[in-house]
Symmetry: C2
Subunit: 325 residues, 2 copies
């Protein structure tokens, strides 16, 4: 018999996932509905509330056994104030006190966490980090997201923008990042940016088998770069090797900062499997110090697209455990 | 009336500082004695025990009002196990269970912390960080030391080597660091290393007013570089500017990792005053993102050489408060 249940809501720009989980991370209900950003704030808030109720109803549990609701949302947001601040892909949610609204309208305790932290917490609680206490996650997608757990607690920071690991500087003065900085790990190692680098190098006149995509008017994707690198294309090999190298630089920096036992890679790029993992590990081994034997293990996240939902419910469980909603 | 007292011991390779502090960081007694490393472990341990007793006696407080002893020691060490592991400048203390020895021999609770963490905790508790909850310290001396406080707690990490901020990679593949890595911030921004860089550039044929020191068989010191840079020497200006720039790179990386409210600079190099602070701030402003307004304040530590002693006692107070010795 589980000690109750928590609702998890993973709020995205397109879809909203919700579900009910017990305290062992077993999923009793789970579904996805459109967020409907275009219909405005009231509609989005209504969809969140309806999804939370449906998650409970579909699981057929007693409402009195529900301990609370955890919501993962795009940032910037304030966990402490329960406030969605100004997410680029949810403009209608600007300055929405979502925690308070959910608490008042459902009668349940609620907690708000940024989606990257929630996903990292999901892996920490129930996935690739469940057996450690100090843990770092890099999510390699369009950008590079991050999450850091220090001694069993999410690192949020004073301004609540901590663990923005994609913006660790790995090549100061280097490639421009969408954030405005130069030389962020995101500018080299995200799925999106490594494909852009391949295009840039071809535009500068470097030859590559990827040129046929450009000539056909297609956008180069990370998976094209992976395939071409595996087939021995020199330009693709260089882009891939540098993406792995700069990720290793960021990992070694995290080794010396939060000193985790394990670093986990997540996001679309991990479809490359061992081709990614072995290259990152090789570079990390080569560039780390050997003064102390504290290079973290480097592995893959295991929850896939469910990390956000599981983590949102997990954040509610953690708030329930500590009494800090 | 203070709520009792704690002993602080700052164990160094040459001297051992000790004192008694109340819970407001008022120092009731304070002195320094030789560590006597050359006399071996039993002598060093004896000196620590005698210093702890003397700190109490000199302060003329009731022994029953003493809550415990905090010891800051060179690392690597294990705070959790209370174990000094293998400090380079205290070889006789290898594998010494110092917390247990102090507890058994004094009858007082004891806690062991690495000296860089203890100094950062001192500034956090009673110095330049006493009004914040998320705080980072860079100590610019022979090397670059670090300390990180996250939400009011020292960041230690799984391997207990966290906050080794001098080994953040700021120029991967760059200047060799004493730790074996290439491109650590320590290799550019420590007092020792920036002076070495000036010598290296002269050895490569660059001219500088510092050449007269080399010709006279003198070692270039950081203060010589500062003076020459202030007087307009181009080589010294470059070395100094790069030292400040790479420190700013490490600060911006910390902005995105632990997201502190304040970064504090300590160590011998801060004698350069505004010449240091303004240059570091200028670079940090130039390279940070402007997406969010979360660049930490950058300032100086205020406790000077007492930070280690105050912090050691402060660690004991924190252990007393939490009950976790």
């Amino acid at each position: 018999m589980a000690d109750g249940y928590c609702v998890g809501v993973d709020l995205g720009g397109t879809n909203l996932k919700a579900g009910l989980l017990d305290d062992k991370a077993n999923i009793l209900s789970q579904f996805s509905v459109p967020t409907e950003v275009e219909r405005g704030r009231d509609a989005v808030v209504g969809n969140i509330l309806a999804a939370a109720e449906r998650a409970i109803t579909e699981a057929s549990v007693e409402r009195s056994q529900v301990r609370g609701v955890g919501i993962g949302s795009p940032g910037p947001l304030s966990h402490r104030r329960g406030l969605v601040i100004n997410p680029a892909n949810l403009p209608c949610m600007k300055d929405t006190p979502l925690r308070q609204i959910v608490t008042e309208r459902t009668g349940l305790a609620a907690t708000l966490e940024n989606d990257a932290n929630a996903a990292a917490w999901g892996e920490f609680w129930a996935g690739a980090g469940k057996d450690v206490s100090d843990f770092v996650m890099f999510t390699l997608g369009t950008g590079v997201g991050g999450g850091v757990v220090v001694d069993g607690q999410l690192l949020r920071g004073h301004f609540e923008n901590g663990a923005e690991l994609g913006h660790i500087l790995v090549q100061p003065g280097g490639r421009k990042c969408s954030c405005g900085q130069e030389g962020c790990v995101e500018a080299y190692s995200s799925a999106y940016n490594l494909a852009r680098r391949a295009e840039e190098m071809m535009a500068e006149g470097r030859s590559s088998t990827l040129k046929k995509l450009v000539d056909a008017g297609q956008m180069v994707m990370a998976e094209h770069v992976v395939e071409a690198a595996q087939a021995g294309d020199a330009l693709a090999e260089q882009v891939w090797d540098e993406a792995c190298y700069y990720l290793a630089v960021a990992i070694v920096t995290m080794q010396h900062v939060s000193n985790p036992q394990r670093v986990v890679l997540a996001g679309g790029l991990i479809a490359a499997g061992d081709f990614l993992l072995e290259c990152v590990r090789k570079h990390a081994q080569a560039i780390t110090w050997h003064l102390l034997n504290d290079l973290p293990e480097i592995g893959f996240a295991t929850l896939g697209n469910d990390a956000g939902l599981i983590g949102a419910a997990g954040c509610a469980w953690e708030a329930h455990r500590t009494g800090q909603w």
